[in-house]
């Protein structure tokens, strides 16, 4: 499993690098400045992909949590946990870049719209995932408990989104993104999404490998000394 991962890693790293350079080029040199909001709007090209990746990460955690609970192999737990960590990282980025974009454009740091609120709740749920592992009495329990959180938490996400959406549509203080996406904007966005997805995959594989190594090492240690 480790060997297969590193082979994929080699091609992936190059791809990721190329994609990220392409993304930078497109965001700063290729795409025209948006008429209404000016140059600050370019934050959008990183803010949206990062948000998408955070959802992807938690979906992966959800799937591998289910896998772990049914198969009980630590490698599934390693991926679930690595993905949750990456998810928290990317959700943090959403929550920071959102206000940085919001303040100059709409004059406010924060609004309780469906997307930002869901990201905030998502952040809280997956921090809880990591805390459960930290406060568990032993690693096997930590893996099992956090898998439960990974499953229960992910199911909550659409509920939160729909509920907050319903709430906000009754209070039209939501910010409406004016204008659609022109083709150059759409292409730029897609390249950025691809670039960040590859980045996420690289980080998660790396992290999961480290965790698997850690588990194997602990087992060897106990075999050797025990």
């Amino acid at each position: 499993m480790n060997i297969k991962r590193s082979l994929r890693n080699n091609g992936l790293l190059e791809l990721g690098f190329v994609l990220m350079i392409a993304a930078l080029y497109m965001v700063f040199l290729y795409v025209p400045t948006e008429k209404h909001t000016g140059i600050v709007q370019r934050i959008f090209y990183f803010h949206v992909p990062v948000a998408w990746v955070s959802f992807l990460a938690f979906f992966v955690t959800f799937i591998f949590s289910i896998l772990y609970l049914s198969k009980r192999e630590m490698k599934w737990d390693a991926i679930a946990c690595a993905s949750a960590e990456a998810g928290v990282i990317f959700t943090t980025l959403v929550l920071i870049t959102g206000p940085i974009w919001g303040k100059p454009v709409w004059g406010i740091w924060w609004t309780w719209d469906a997307r930002l609120t869901t990201s905030l709740v998502l952040w809280l749920i997956y921090v809880a995932y990591l805390l459960v592992r930290g406060f568990a009495t032993e690693p096997a329990r930590g893996a099992r408990f956090s898998a439960v959180v990974g499953i229960v938490g992910f199911i909550d996400v659409p509920l939160v989104f729909l509920t907050v959406n319903l709430w906000r549509t009754q209070h039209p203080t939501t910010i409406i993104f004016e204008g659609g996406l022109t083709t150059p904007m759409l292409v730029t966005l897609l390249v950025c999404i691809a670039a960040f997805t590859v980045l996420y995959v690289l980080l998660t594989i790396q992290s999961a490998n480290l965790k698997s190594l850690d588990t194997a090492l602990k087992r060897l240690k106990s075999m050797h000394t025990g």
Binding site: G38, I39, V40, R42, I43, F46, H47, V50, E85, A86, I89, T92, L93, I96, T97, I100, W101, K103, P104, L199, L203, Q206, S207, L210, L213, D214, L217, L220, K221, H224, T225
Partner: protein, 50 residues
């Protein structure tokens, strides 16, 4: 070119946090490496004694 500062801030934060995470993983890797070395020494010792 108003609000350039905000644009810079957003991108800086992204890279700072991503690199922070990579650093965190590096530290973990070094810790693991140290433990592997210790384990190796311990194994060598028992082989030599036994």
């Amino acid at each position: 070119m108003e609000n350039l500062g905000y644009l810079f801030a957003a991108y800086t934060v992204i890279w700072a946090i991503v690199f922070g995470y990579i650093l965190f993983m590096q530290r973990n890797q070094r810790r693991l490496q140290r433990q592997i070395n210790l384990l190796q020494e311990s194994i060598d010792k028992t082989e030599n004694d036994g």
